[in-house]
């Protein structure tokens, strides 16, 4: 078991709900500071978005933060250097796209990630059917390749995803792109339930969790939450690192059992 999964299982087993904030690598000059602030606010791991020119899965906010990062010159190398420099005391998960992984080659890419201290990898346009070469490379470099499951995923396929995911399973709360929306569908609860039947991996709910109330609700049935667009929206609107930290702290608080 790799470091990421050890950490997520331990938290889950201790009854602690996982908080996984997402930050687009290179989005600002001082994005590294935000990693520290996130840890201070109680993040259990941090997803770092590697910006791609054609982010099929992402909604408007992450598209905008990715565009901004690319315009500022973000590359895989520079983002990894900053991660290595900051060396946050929680696991770092690369949130990438298939072409960024395959262009240098899955093995070289995973090696570079591992060298920078990254512990996990999510490739949203690499479904389970296409994952084999990347999964092998990740495994070789002790990276956990976490898979996504969606409300549209059929039962049998959920089982396959749950079985082959590493670190945690990322349950997509609704049919849509990344980004804060109204509360997750009832389908999210159902999806988590199905995944639990197939695996004892922690199940993290993502997509559309924007406010403490939603976080609290998710905590009722999932093992944690990923929060990206809500955070990036505030960042793009000019929030300070302190304000962003405070927002994450609110979410953290909402995840704790009442009383």
């Amino acid at each position: 078991m790799n470091a990421l999964e050890t950490r997520t299982r331990a938290a889950r087993d201790a009854g602690r709900k996982l908080l996984l904030p997402y930050v687009t690598g290179g989005v600002t000059d001082d994005w590294g500071d935000l990693l520290r602030a996130a840890v201070d606010a109680g993040a259990d791991a941090i997803e770092i978005g590697f910006p791609f020119s054609d982010p099929t899965l992402d909604g408007p906010v992450i598209q905008q933060s990715s565009d901004q990062a690319l315009r500022r010159g973000a590359t895989t190398r520079r983002i990894l250097d900053e991660i290595a420099r900051v060396a946050p005391p929680v696991p770092v998960i690369a949130f990438s796209y298939a072409n960024l992984v395959l262009r240098p080659g899955a093995d070289a890419y995973c090696a570079a990630l591992a060298d920078a201290g990254v512990g996990g990898l999510i490739v949203p346009d690499l479904p389970v059917d296409e994952m084999a070469p990347v999964a092998a490379a990740a495994q070789a470099h002790a990276l956990d390749l976490a898979l996504l499951a969606a409300p549209s995923t059929p039962l049998r396929r959920c089982a396959d995803i749950a079985r082959r995911s590493r670190g945690f399973v990322y349950a997509v709360s609704l049919m849509g792109t990344t980004g804060a929306r109204s509360r997750p569908h009832e389908s999210a609860r159902e999806l988590v339930r199905c995944l639990r039947e197939e695996t004892d991996l922690p199940v993290v709910l993502g997509f559309g969790i924007a406010a403490p109330g939603q976080a609290a609700e998710a905590a009722g049935y999932a093992d944690g939450i990923a929060v990206g667009s809500a955070l990036m929206r505030r960042l793009l609107d000019g929030a300070t690192t302190a304000q962003l930290g405070a927002f994450l702290a609110q979410l953290r608080a909402a995840l704790e059992p009442a009383g």
């Binding site: 992402d58 590359t75 895989t76 960024l100 395959l102 996504l148 549209s152 995923t153 792109t177």
Partner: protein
């Protein structure tokens, strides 16, 4: 879904079941003689198929070759796009879908999809880059007249590749009742295969026409322009088991095969124009339909196999070829199609095409849409 190392289904998990549903439905439909008969009927009475093969007598005489033009410019809506769109729209109806979604660049595929939507009474949503909307107001108006809703895409370069991404995103949110009608032989499996099958009517007709009506037998060369590559895929499909040399002609500024490298974009693996980091490059061509940084996976495969050759021509050659075909044959072809003409002119001149060889060229569309561009450049 695989063409050697190319193809595949690189989409968000949310869309995998939808792609699988399309695959299953198409597999069933394509094996169903009733579905094929229905499609054949619509292509005949609505689109005007078969389109003729026209010997280009005067240009042939000038070039010293025997040039035959497969006339997709005569199809309803003005290009081969309609063959695929009607196939997919009938499939969508068969699947019980209520709405159509499409991406479009210059608007040709959008107009074709809006046409199919009107014909079958299916509400149609077209995703189109904001910059393309500004440049192609007439096509936007056409789609609106046909009852389609055109949604501006404001992300990225605000052009075709962003519209492709947005169409996938849009599909995710409405996959229950919506069918994504993809415009070229690309995208996640089964699209490259399915679109090729829907376009193979071009090649199948041409093969019969060359043999029977024109008594020219199998052509020595079969030439078509390649952007996404659906007209070429459909044309080549009719001749892949003959000795004909297959030639795909790319735009110099959008030559994914000639100048690209393997990559994953919009749900499939193929050759793409990209930088060292894997960021997708912008393509540039005078022909909006070839202004795409990728290419259908089958073409990447045929290129690797050596079964088809891929060449490219530049904008100046394309303009000259457009004018020359107009003056010698009375045909104002699309700038996309003129790429194929430009290569034949060059290749007949330098001996790549030997004297008196028979060349079948698919004229994928008519040039009306390009008149404003041509006027500005004249």
């Amino acid at each position: 879904g695989r063409f050697g190392e190319y193809g595949g289904r690189f989409v968000p998990e949310s869309l995998v079941p939808a792609c699988a549903e399309v695959e299953q439905a198409f597999t069933d439909a394509w094996a169903d003689p009733l579905f094929r008969a229905e499609l054949r009927h619509v292509l005949a009475i609505y689109v005007g198929r078969p389109t003729p093969v026209t010997p280009a007598a005067r240009l042939s005489a000038e070039l010293g070759v025997n040039l035959l033009l497969k006339r997709e410019d005569l199809a309803h809506t003005g290009s081969h796009k309609i063959n695929n769109v009607l196939g997919q729209a009938l499939l969508a109806r068969r699947m019980g879908k209520r709405r159509l979604i499409a991406e479009t660049g210059a608007g040709q595929h959008g107009v074709a999809t809006a046409t199919a939507g009107a014909l079958l009474g299916m509400p149609t949503t077209v995703l189109m880059g904001e910059r393309d909307i500004e440049r192609q107001q007439l096509n936007v108006f056409r789609m609106t007249m046909l009852g389609a809703e055109v949604i501006p895409v404001t992300s990225g370069t605000r052009t075709l590749k962003d519209a492709c991404s947005e169409a996938l995103r849009h599909w995710v949110t409405s996959v229950e009742d919506s069918y994504y009608c993809l415009g070229s032989a690309m995208g996640p499996h089964p699209y490259p295969w399915m679109v090729r099958e829907f376009q193979r009517v071009i090649g199948d007709e041409a093969r019969t026409q060359c043999a029977a009506d024109l008594a020219t037998g199998t052509p020595d060369f079969v030439v078509a322009c390649v952007g996404g590559g659906s007209n070429a895929a459909g044309t080549f499909a009719g001749f892949v088991d003959t000795p004909a040399l297959l030639v795909g002609v790319e735009a110099a500024g959008g030559a994914a095969i000639s100048a690209g490298s393997p990559g994953v974009l919009h749900g499939f693996r193929s050759k793409v124009l990209q930088d060292e980091h894997g960021q997708i490059a912008e393509a540039h061509s005078i022909a909006a339909g070839l202004d795409y940084p990728g290419v259908g996976p089958e073409h990447a495969y045929l290129a690797d196999l050596g079964r088809a050759s891929y060449v490219c021509v530049d904008d100046a050659e394309v303009l000259a070829a457009t004018h020359r075909l107009a003056r010698t044959e009375g045909i104002l072809c699309a700038l996309e199609s003129a790429h194929a003409v430009a290569w034949v002119i060059r290749a007949a001149g330098d001996g790549t095409i030997p004297p008196d060889a028979t060349v079948l060229l698919t004229l994928s569309g008519r040039g009306d849409k390009d008149m404003a561009t041509l006027m500005e450049l004249s």
